[in-house]
Amino acid sequence: MTAHLPALIPVAPLVIALLTPILARLSVTLVRITALTALLISLASSAGALQHALVEGTWHYHFGGWAPPWGIEYVIDPLAGIIAVLVSFFCLLVLVYAAPYLAGKPAQEKGYFYTLYLLLAAGLLGMVVTGDVFNLYVFLEISSLAAYALIASGGSRATVAAYRYLLIGTAAASLYLLGIGYLYALTGSLNMADLAVLLPPLAATNAVALAVALITIGLGIKMALFPLHGWLPDAYSSAPAPVAGILAAVMAKVSAYAIYRILYFVFKTAAPVQVALDIAGWMAAAGILYGSIMAIAQRDLWRMLAYSSVAQMAYIILGLALGNIMGLYGALLQILSHAFTKGCLFLVAGSISHQTGIRDIPRLARLSRRMPWTLAAFVVAAMSMVGLPPTVGFFSKWYLMLGAVEAGAWVFVAVLVASSLLTAVYFFRVLEYAYLKEDQGQVEGQTREVKAAGGWELAPAMLVPVLILGLGILTLGIFSDQIISGYIHFALPWRMP
């Protein structure tokens, strides 16, 4: 089977997802075990494929035995490998986390949830490892549809948010599809590697410029790049906690990855790409400030985190826009860093809301006493958001700043500085409430529920993922050198064969 690792990455969860509605009839435990197994297989396959890509070079896998550009191929280069490991790791972790969240729901509903969750994972993983632009669209739609439904399962408000997301998201996917339509019209090919060969002679045409614009806007909407972020705050803040966690941690990252992949690996450095990146860079700078300021204005913890995502996702684009080695290091490290950090924050927020029903920041008063470990993870994640050493957030910001200074982009430097401070303001407010403010008495009654978890502050299945992420933030920070020089370094476009 090791010869088929690339195919297994998305296919394992996909096949299990297909079986889940049947298995759910028998036993929900069985569903859970098979789902975990499927994602474990994905994780192992991604890790194996990444190792293979690092040692022996890019791995091409041809579906149906047809060579590209006629058939569809999967391409595992170090970049795809890293992101695939990240995505499958997160899907696994959040699946563990989801169990206590689902406790008490009807078995039927659990079955549907797991099915869609696995489909979401399969869709995201498929987007990561594919080497075909149309195949990317198909998997984008799988993951999007699953995401819409999972968000909508959060209740009536969530349904409205999900519906708006559906409209915007489908329009975005249509733009993307139109963009690759132009590429197809110009070259007759849909394979990324093939396109990369065919496009350079055409780089000066208007049609390529339009294709770049359409694809960037389409994926930009998906990753909530300012000013295309309108759907995000509602969707994130009304989704169920595990869903919000997975959306914030990896879904937007995968779109960012797709932008990086297409702009840097397919179009390479055509002139329109440079313009698109410049514009995206300025939008990102504006988005960082906008997101941070809006986050300060929020009273709801989840909405605050959602706006903070708008700002932090823009860091990635900022790094891509800088385009020098340091900037790209920063952008790629920020993908990892923000996945861990925002994932951790949303899981913590979800745990708090699950355990005590609190979502408003002022009601967090003295929560640190009841949930010390959860809040400790929150503190670490908050430090990473602000960019304080030795968390990984510091290092991603370090590289971004280094890149910005190297490129002489002083405005970006100023934006990064300002954003750190604004981030500090809104996280500090939360921590001050959680650690220092006296309990006003309105949350007394909730202590009872905490004890219901068997003496733990949280159900272990929730606490462990949260703590793993908290430790991961520190570990990634401490070993950021190994990550940069051992993995991310090989994910730069000009190192590619």
């Binding site: 290091y329 430090m383 602000v386 304080l388 050493p389 030795p390 510091f394 290092f395 910001k397 370090w398 590289y399 700043m401 280094l402 200074v405 190297e406 430097v413 500085v417 750190s420 401070l421 500090a424 500090f428 001050e432 220092l436 950021s480 050198d481 940069i484 020089s485």
Partner: protein, 503 residues
């Protein structure tokens, strides 16, 4: 794993020992005695490790750890050079005394939740030693930020509204400063990859004058907050709500000195004295420092709260160090470096006394302390000693640094700063004399007999007071501080000469 490995990495062990202690303290939440035992052990161990490096460093060696690469060209790197060792020795020695003082203070006031307090304290010390031993700007910055964060729980320890407000203000100032410092560090990294500290500076000729001026300005913003130069000083008096040992060690030695230390590193090892003057940054900084000295002394006159008065005094005194860095002549740098030591001993004595008075009498305001000298003679004797030293009376430790600073100002042809020093000395007398006078000769209306503070509080302050006296006569007593400062200055200027000769 041989002895060499241990010896070479001593700077690293010195940093790690208190981090380890912090971890152990956290795990011994329920056992206060063990917790405090660990603190003292760590403090003594740290001092021993650092002290063991003294002979080698005095012999001109630099003890370097193996650099830990973070990315190509960016490393975590520790080294014990003369100047770093001076600061490390000072803070690790004072940590021993402060730990003992801590036990008396914290137990007497019964704050509760002290585990986090001791742990944060230990982390702070790690960060301070890290700052002292940092061999490049990135390492310096990392520890600088850790120090910022680790101090926050100490400031808000009492959890009162006032403390929380103070903590918020502290964080707002220091985190903002940290960002400017980060930009400055990154910029230096781009100008001179690696950004390793070098005696005599490494930035000469690496950028246009304007760029270097802006860079220097960013550094000043970044370091100036911790060093509390005006107008960036406002957090320091507010942060005085922290328990007194915190004010004593951190606000007299570790945190604010980290800023002042940074200024000396900046002018001696990053820009180099020559460059600092060439780009005109030194002159401007000197003016700022001079104004800070005068204005802070004036503000101190108006404060009734003893700790706040001491805080303003700290602001003024720290600017002496900054002034030394700004003037950047050999004598000025020497004065600045030695003033780090001198001020530490003097100010910690004063803070210890303030704390002892507060614990025994619960008085914070100077106006309430009339006649206290008759009830607490030993404490007040130490206080008087510290006050006299800080004014700069000959044969006291404060005199040596000020004398050298004065000479340094002359070397720089800026005699005006001698006037600043004299005015400041007069003002200092002005705000300390009434305290001492009232304490001995004021009438105590309440008349309740109050005894001296407990031994854990009393002995540390007596020891520091005596050391302040002894160092004034024998500046090399015990730790060879003066020798270290001298060697540091020599290395800076010989390197500069060498470069000039070579170029």
């Amino acid at each position: 794993m041989n002895a060499d490995f241990f010896l070479v990495n001593r700077p690293l062990w010195a940093v790690l020992i208190s981090l380890l202690a912090a971890g152990l303290i956290l795990f011994n939440d329920r056992r206060p005695n063990l917790r405090e035992g660990i603190t003292v052990l760590a403090a003594v161990g740290k001092f021993a490790i650092i002290f063991s490096m003294l002979p080698q460093v005095l012999a001109g060696q630099v003890i370097e750890t193996a650099p830990l690469t973070l990315a190509p060209g960016i490393t975590l790197h520790l080294q014990a050079d003369t100047f770093g060792l001076l600061f490390a020795l000072l803070s690790s020695f004072l940590w021993i005394l402060t730990s003992i003082y801590n036990f008396g203070y914290m137990r007497a006031l019964k704050y509760g939740h002290e585990t986090g307090y001791y742990a944060s304290f230990a982390v702070c010390l790690s960060a301070t030693i890290g700052i002292a031993f940092a061999a490049n700007l990135l390492t310096f910055f990392l520890f600088y930020e850790i120090l910022t964060i680790a101090t926050y729980p100490l400031v808000i320890h009492s959890r009162t509204e006032e403390a929380i407000y103070g903590g918020r203000k502290y964080l707002a100032y220091t985190l903002t400063a940290g960002q400017f410092l980060l930009v400055a560090v990154i910029w230096s990294q781009v100008l001179a990859p690696g950004a390793e500290f070098q005696p005599g500076g490494f930035l000469a000729g690496k950028g246009s004058v304007l760029a270097l001026q802006i860079l220097f300005f960013l550094f000043v913003l970044g370091l100036g907050v911790k060093a509390a130069i005006m107008p960036l000083h406002d957090w320091l008096p507010t942060a005085m709500v922290a328990p007194t040992p915190v004010s004593a060690l951190l606000h007299a030695v570790a945190v604010v000195k980290a800023g002042a230390f940074g200024f000396l590193r900046l002018s001696g090892y990053v820009f180099g004295p020559q460059l600092v003057r060439e780009i005109g940054a030194g002159q401007v900084l000197a003016v700022v420092a001079g104004i800070t000295i005068i204005v802070a002394s004036l503000r101190a006159l108006g404060e009734d709260n003893l700790k706040r008065r001491l805080a303003y005094s700290t602001i003024g005194q720290l600017s002496y160090v900054v002034l030394g860095a700004a003037l950047a002549t050999p004598m000025a740098l020497l004065g600045g470096m030695f003033h780090i030591v001198a001020h530490a001993f003097m100010k910690i004595t004063l803070f210890f006394c303030a704390g002892a008075i507060y614990v025994t009498t619960h008085k914070q305001n100077i106006s309430e302390m009339k006649g206290i000298g008759r009830q607490m003679p030993a404490t007040l004797a130490a206080f008087t000693l510290g006050a006299i030293a800080i004014v700069g009376t000959p044969f006291m430790v404060g005199f040596i640094s000020k004398w050298n600073l004065g000479l340094g100002a002359l070397q720089a042809n800026e005699g005006i700063y001698i006037a600043v020093l004299i005015v400041s000395a007069l003002l200092t007398t002005g705000y300390f004399f009434p305290i001492v006078f009232n304490a001995y000769f004021g009438s105590n209306k309440a008349g309740t007999p109050i005894r001296e503070a407990s031994p854990a509080l009393l002995y540390p302050l007596l020891i520091t007071g005596v050391i302040a006296l002894v160092l004034g006569v024998f500046p090399n007593f015990g730790w060879d501080f003066y020798q270290l400062a001298l060697a540091a200055v020599k290395s800076i200027f010989t390197a500069g000469m060498g470069m000039a000769a070579g170029g």
